[in-house]
């Protein structure tokens, strides 16, 4: 009766105890950082002697943090747009094409996801050193597009596979051009997939550290790179404030995405 919740008996209590402990283990560090970012202790003593917002003031007073956030947003939006565009085209080929080696191409498109990031980071760093794209916005966008693209392909292929192509064919029979039919019939039908693809590839870029560390220059840094640099010096509470904003932003994006997705489904 090990797979019946009601008949587990004493074992159920034991499993619940472990599960609750794991949930605490997963949540507490995140809450802890948010709490410390409002604590007054420079040495991150917990519980803090009193509460303050001065670390946030310090954060916003430093233009370098703001610049880094702007860079992160720019890189994230551009690479998400590029990932979705390329992913949409590639998905049409993967789902509708009938060429030899389709399975191999599909596997190839997903490899940036499974390859250790450090290998890709060093490889693209070597290339960009040679062609002068290191420390440039274009370099960041290209590198993050390679990493976000597989996620876009997965989301779009899934929704395109669920779309009945005969609806598009019907539009063509009714006199629409093939392109018109795709733009006005197919795209609206798979908008949920496109939307997920955009969110995923944006968040991949927004949170990406390893490639960004190699790509960054003193004048062009993303938010994670700036946090990384600060972390290697000391554990100042300003980092707690920056981390809290980073995490809050991700949560807001996820919540909005869930909301929009449920609206679109209706």
């Amino acid at each position: 009766m090990l797979l019946s919740y009601r008949k587990l008996g004493g074992l159920r209590i034991a499993l619940w105890a472990i599960t609750l402990a794991v949930c605490l283990f997963l949540l507490v560090p995140i809450i802890f950082i948010a709490a410390l970012s409002f604590g007054s202790s420079q040495w991150l003593i917990f519980p803090p002697p009193s509460w303050t917002t001065k670390w946030y003031h310090e954060l916003f007073a430093d233009p370098r943090w703001l610049q880094a956030a702007m860079t992160s947003a720019k890189v994230g939006l551009l690479s998400a747009a590029l990932s979705v565009f390329l992913g949409l085209l590639a998905s049409f080929a993967l789902v509708r094409g009938s060429f030899p080696g389709r399975g191999i191409l599909r596997a190839l498109f997903l490899t940036p996801m499974v390859l250790p990031v450090i290998v890709f980071a060093v490889a693209i760093y070597a290339l960009f050193l040679r062609i002068g794209l290191n420390g440039t916005l274009v370099g960041f966008v290209i590198a993050h597009t390679v990493l976000g693209f597989p996620f876009a392909v997965i989301a779009i292929v899934n929704s395109l596979e669920g779309f009945d192509k005969s609806i598009e064919d019907a539009a063509v029979l009714c006199g629409a051009s093939p392109l018109q039919a795709k733009l006005k019939v197919t795209l609206p039908a798979i908008k949920l997939g496109l939307f997920s693809a955009a969110i995923f590839s944006f968040l991949i870029s927004w949170d990406e550290v390893v490639v960004a560390i190699f790509m960054a220059s003193p004048t062009l840094q993303t938010l994670p790179v700036r946090i990384w640099g600060a972390l290697r010096q000391d554990l100042s509470p300003v980092i707690a404030a920056a981390s809290t904003i980073l995490v809050a932003f991700t949560l807001v994006v996820m919540a909005l995405a869930a909301l929009i997705r449920s609206r679109m489904n209706k």
């Binding site: 797979l3 019946s4 995140i30 950082i33 085209l89 250790p116 450090i118 560390i213 995490v247």
Partner: protein, 281 residues
């Protein structure tokens, strides 16, 4: 009729419909495949043609130590996450839906929380004056603060934390797919709880455990951020060593060789997984 249309559709050109994939293929060829291959090429061409980089990598005790550390940490993290994740995935698979949604939300939030923020949290929690040390000292369990960070203990704790969701989720999916009546059958045939667990539940959930375990093992081998921040200078792991060789020491030959070793081990483990468990699910 349908046969003729198929024949007509296929006849004009082979390679039909590949066109739209060309831009993406170009992107990956130029900025992924070629760079990775030319990096690997550097491992046998710099400073001169030959395999001496690999010789140096395996013969030097400093580098051998890094490989040992990396495999040790990956093994321990995989074992610990599997043991902790199993009961959670098990309960998650059978608990009432509304509770399961909550537990799942916790797991997903933790997974999507920025990696640096989570690692930073552990740096603060584990430091000498951190909450864990001060609490243990207040309770009188220890008289001196424990060294929990800047060593492999810290790396193992931090990595376990990061990797847990990656084992819980596939295990959960596998256990959920097991037909509960197989366990009823075991009970009817007179199996005790322990026997039913060991002879029925455990073997049936093994594919999920293997998938999650292998994924965590592979990810741990190549992990950069958490080991670099929670580990000490004398306890480097593979990814950080590659970064240092390339960025600080400008030893591209040796760095590329280390990257190639990591790549081969990673691909070999994925190949094993696909061979025995039919790919990732």
């Amino acid at each position: 009729m349908s046969q003729t249309t198929v024949a007509v559709e296929r006849s004009p050109r082979r390679g039909r419909g590949i066109g739209p994939a060309v831009p993406a293929m170009l992107l990956l060829a130029l900025f992924f495949i070629i760079p990775v291959f030319s990096l690997l090429l550097r491992s046998v061409t710099e400073p001169e043609l030959g395999l001496q980089n690999y010789g140096e990598l395996f013969a030097t005790s400093t580098y051998a130590r890094v490989f040992f550390n990396t495999f040790m940490v990956a093994t321990v993290v995989t074992a610990v996450t599997l043991i902790i994740a199993y009961p959670v995935a098990w309960l998650l698979a059978i608990m009432p839906q509304r509770h399961a949604n909550l537990v799942m939300a916790v797991i997903l939030i933790s997974m999507w929380t920025n990696l640096l923020a989570r690692t930073y949290a552990w740096m603060v929690l584990l430091q000498r004056t951190g909450v864990i040390n001060t609490t243990l000292m207040k309770l009188g369990l220890i008289s001196e603060p424990l060294a929990l960070v800047k060593n492999l203990t810290g790396v193992t704790i931090g990595m376990t934390y990061i990797m847990l969701p990656f084992v819980i989720l596939p295990l959960y999916a596998t256990i959920r797919a097991i037909d509960p009546s197989t366990l009823q059958a075991a009970a009817l045939c007179g199996a005790g709880r322990w026997q039913a667990f060991r002879r029925v539940l455990l073997p049936l959930s093994a594919p999920g455990a293997a998938a999650g375990g292998l994924m965590v093992f592979v990810m741990s081998l190549g992990y950069f951020v958490t080991p670099a921040l929670l580990g000490g200078a004398s306890n480097m792991m593979l990814a950080e060593m590659i970064a240092q060789l390339v960025q600080s020491l400008l030893n591209w030959g040796l760095g590329s060789a280390a990257a190639f070793v990591l790549l081969v081990v990673t691909l070999a483990i994925y190949a094993l997984q696909i061979r025995f468990f039919g790919g990732m699910r």
